[in-house]
């Protein structure tokens, strides 16, 4: 048998022992793995055991990095926590927010970075250049900061058409202008053909935080309302279709946009905003899970209230994927105190990037750490973090 199965089983037994408060097994009888009692209670015992297992310190089991580590789901989180956070640990990084908030002299500064490796480089509604600027601007904006300066690092593959590069750069220039930020420093590297895929871009950004109270998903409290700023999944589905592997055509464009202006209006109108996150990789579902985990609360959302364009829903149905997990590049999730939810929604509706905003659910005390979905059909299920990429089902 392979080593990792034994390892997993040993860990499993340890979880049980820890829960029972029993001393470490000295090679005596096998620990009881099977829960006992009437069915309802037995199921609850299993659920509790799983909950304990989920709170174990994350560890990477794989020998090598797989595509799942980059997909924004559980494997990504394990990688970040087990490798990066473990090595670089400090109170600011531990918050795992979209941007760090650091004191520089008298100023509170938001600082963030993001890399862009999208394929194809150009797609309906934008290109890698738009994403590189908007992505970093948005990470600053959802931290409650006014984005100011960006850096840009380019990794170019030998053979990339100069005309493509100039189009990408022109898009970045336009996006920066529209977001009101300046690109003030940069770097360029070229690698041999085959060592990259056309063009990768890294951007970093700084912004100024002038708001007194810090935003953060850990601030969510039972009773808070959960708002989504517009129809979800446009970007992810656009990219999937642009790859041309699926032979599906649809009238759809990426939602890539800078969110600083709509967010600024929202924060002014609704001081009760507790947290903002832009719904990129892993989609809205991942953010809802981040809220539930960070704040130790439950989140209940209502399927029929979640804004999804018919064309996105149609494509998602065909491909067997859930729009809740599909990436957006110009949408965010807001957690707002109940008293301010109406004001927040009204403020969003006055802005073109928030006109499709809707209250999709609420924060609850119970069950902690779990996201529940009331399905349009009338049932209830949980919405978990995604494992790996959304893989279409085969039949």
């Amino acid at each position: 048998m392979t080593g990792w199965v034994e390892q997993a089983l040993a860990e499993h037994d340890r979880t049980d022992r820890d829960a029972a408060g029993a001393p470490a097994d000295a090679g005596g009888g096998a620990p009881a793995r099977t829960a006992e009692g009437p069915p309802g209670r037995r199921e609850q015992q299993v659920l509790d055991r799983i909950d304990r297992a989920r709170h174990r310190r994350p560890r990477i089991r794989e020998d090598r990095i797989t595509m799942a580590h980059g997909a924004g789901g559980k494997a990504s989180r394990t990688l970040v926590e087990a490798v990066f956070l473990d090595a670089f640990r400090n109170p600011e990084l531990e918050r795992l927010e979209d941007a760090a908030s650091v004191r520089v002299g008298e100023a509170q500064v938001a600082f963030t970075t993001d890399s862009f490796v999208v394929s194809p480089l150009f797609f309906p509604g934008g290109c890698i250049g738009d994403l590189a600027v908007n992505g970093t601007v948005n990470d600053l904006a959802v931290s409650g900061a006014t984005p100011l300066y960006l850096s840009a690092g380019f990794v170019l593959e030998e053979g990339l058409a100069v005309s493509d590069l100039t189009m990408i750069v022109a898009a970045m220039k336009a996006a920066a202008k529209s977001a009101g930020v300046q690109l003030v420093t940069g770097d360029t590297k070229v690698v041999e053909r085959g060592k990259a895929d056309g063009c990768y871009i890294n951007t970093a950004g700084v912004g100024l935080i002038e708001r007194g109270t810090a935003l953060g998903v850990a601030n969510a409290r039972p009773g808070d309302q959960v708002i989504v700023s517009g129809p979800i999944g446009d970007h992810g589905v656009t990219i999937m279709l642009a790859r041309g592997e699926l032979d599906i055509e649809a009238d759809l464009a990426s939602d890539t946009a800078a969110l600083n202006s709509v967010i600024s209006g929202l924060l002014t109108a609704a001081p009760g905003v507790r947290a903002l996150r832009d719904a990129t990789r892993g989609g809205v579902a991942t953010i809802l899970n981040e809220i539930a985990t960070a704040a130790g609360v439950g989140v209940t959302v209502h399927e029929e209230r979640i804004p999804v364009r018919t064309v996105v829903r149609g494509a998602a149905e065909l491909l067997g994927i859930d729009p809740l997990y599909v990436a957006c590049e110009g949408r965010f999730v807001a957690v707002v105190a109940a008293d301010d939810a109406e004001a927040a929604l009204a403020a969003l509706h006055t802005h073109p990037l928030g006109e499709g905003a809707a209250v999709v659910g609420e924060v609850t005390a119970d069950p902690p750490g779990i996201v529940l979905l009331r399905t349009a059909f009338g049932g209830t299920r949980i919405v978990d973090l995604l494992v790996g990429d959304p893989l279409p089902r085969i039949c």
Partner: protein
């Protein structure tokens, strides 16, 4: 959205649920098996069990294509893919299925050329584009996907393509259902029949379930109301003491199946004397191989393959879950050692696997949840 929302109407569901509840005899328990993993997925994804009376239990069956692939076949496929100059292609669901040395994803990370495709025809396209490589399609699935594999081989043959082959793992549903009916562990009141398989084979092959075993069968579609209606139809049969094969999915399933698809399968493939199913062991005449006439496209003849049988991890109870004897959460390692991130068993891999469906969608205390979500 048209053709979707009609099949997910909460109002209709409430009405159907009331009728199902009326048919329940006091003190009696009802157990129905949904054979197909697609049904399992729908049931959990839409929270369908919320509509069922406590006396009606759904048991998840073996009809999940990747769940039944034994470890040895995954090892064989990875060994085959590692031959120099080979490109292995497969459906996305297959990528995370664990063999004894890891999954396709792990092999890919080690440098083996394994690519995800949406259709076997995509694999054919890769073969045309890479004439200097040998392209293999890892064919999996029940009668649902077998016709597309067969059509692909026929097309490769017509084109005279010399660098394309199929590693055939197609299985057939009826022997698996028979194995479950013959198993002493489980007492069922009826079956929700597989919808997609039946678009190919029709409803006749299930007549023995009603005739010889006296169990009702209702072939069902994949929307939640399809399944709820099929449960209602099963309850009507049970109440009336009938055991028949009925077709709820008439908008797609012809009672006699699809002749063209069956003809394609029969042209290219033949039944194997026996085949190993994950957790269920060897079942006779339960899988298909490429016929000798198409040996040029049969990876099992073209490549040296170890063909070693690898025993499932002892802790893994996939077999019991696939047979419906255990509920997913009753498996000893469910959710702790075996999770969707690090699956030990195949039932935790595919979105159609019972364990993955329960873990991802149903891992909650229904009593507590119903208190929370009434709003």
């Amino acid at each position: 959205m048209r053709f979707v929302d009609e099949f997910r109407s909460a109002g209709t569901a409430h009405a159907l649920a009331a009728r199902i509840a009326e048919l329940c005899e006091p003190g009696r328990q009802y157990k129905f098996m949904e054979v197909c993993g697609g049904h399992t997925h729908t049931i959990y994804k839409h929270g369908l069990e919320d509509y069922l009376p406590e006396s009606v239990t759904l048991v998840h069956g073996p009809g999940c294509p990747v769940c039944v692939i034994p470890m040895g076949r995954v090892d064989d496929a990875i060994h085959l893919a590692a031959h120099p100059g080979t490109i292995m292609t497969s459906f996305g669901d297959m990528m995370r299925v664990p063999g004894s040395q890891g999954s396709f994803f792990d092999a890919k990370a080690r440098g083996t050329d394994i690519r995800m495709v949406y259709s076997p025809l995509d694999a054919l396209k890769i073969a045309r584009q890479n004439p200097d490589k040998r392209v293999v399609f890892m064919a999996i699935g029940f009668e649902t996907t077998a016709p597309s594999t067969a059509m692909t081989v026929l097309r490769a043959s017509a084109e005279g393509l010399a660098n394309f082959s199929v590693f055939c793992n197609h299985v057939t549903i009826v022997p698996a259902i028979k194995a479950i009916l013959d198993s002493p562990d489980l007492r069922l009141d009826g079956f929700i029949g597989p919808g997609h398989v039946s678009t190919v084979i029709g409803c006749r092959p299930y007549e023995f379930i009603a005739g010889s075993y006296g169990k009702p069968v209702v072939v069902a579609g994949f929307e939640p109301l399809d399944i709820l209606q099929s449960i209602y139809m099963l309850m009507l049969q049970v109440r009336a003491g009938r055991a028949e094969v009925e077709n709820q999915y008439t908008r797609v399933v012809p009672y006699d199946g699809n002749r063209a698809a069956l003809h394609a399968i029969n042209e290219v493939m033949e039944l194997r004397p026996y085949f190993e199913w994950r957790g269920l062991g060897f079942i006779s005449h339960s899988a298909m191989a490429v016929r000798p006439a198409y040996r040029r496209f049969d990876a099992e003849r073209l490549f040296e393959i170890p063909g070693v049988r690898v025993a499932d991890p002892k802790a893994c109870q996939c077999g019991e879950v696939l047979k419906g004897v255990l509920k997913p959460w009753e498996c000893k390692v469910f959710g702790t050692a075996c999770t969707p991130e690090t699956p030990i068993g195949t039932c935790m891999v595919s979105p159609e696997g019972a364990c993955a469906a329960y873990y991802n969608f149903g891992r909650m205390n229904r009593h507590r949840v119903s208190e929370v979500s009434v709003s």
